[in-house]
Symmetry: C2
Subunit: 98 residues, 2 copies
């Protein structure tokens, strides 16, 4: 099992922990926004909070992508299996950048 | 207290409960994405999930905005205090639409 996981992802991303922490903070922010909505708070305020959550998600995605480029992609190219990694990355980017 | 709240927001939005439910689902989706990241899952997969969360937030914001237009804004204009409501809404839109 460990061997298999290592085969799938045998390196550590520099900012993984930082990205997890950011996503946890965004989750808390979204929970607070949900509670504001349930409490009947003003629509403009809720919209501002949703925009802030979106902005924070953009920044988390940007950090994730930079991390990915620095580790997975460079490594995959060294190992000669760039096609699969680049195809997955392109698909993710197509979905991400609207 | 209740009187003051009623003064601030004395009507019910048609889709408030639905928006709260959507935000709760998005919160769960984001939590799962955070756990995927912590588990070291593939970056492309995480990016796809973040994109899906963003898309769902866009749709929740759209529903919120439509609700707001149908209730608060129309009502505020009837009551003659449209300037304040429209200014808050414009600010929210400026922040929301990037």
């Amino acid at each position: 099992m460990t061997e298999n996981q290592e085969h799938k992802h045998d390196h550590e991303h520099k900012h993984r922990k930082q990205i997890v922490n950011r996503l946890a903070r965004i989750e808390g922010h979204l929970r607070a926004t949900k509670e504001m909505t349930a409490a009947g708070r003003d629509c403009s305020e809720i919209l501002l909070q949703i925009a802030a959550v979106q902005k924070a998600l953009d920044n988390a995605a940007k950090l994730l992508l930079k991390d990915h480029l620095e580790s997975c992609v460079v490594k995959a190219i060294h190992n000669g299996n760039e096609e699969q990694v680049l195809s997955a990355l392109n698909k993710a980017l197509d979905n991400y950048i609207r």
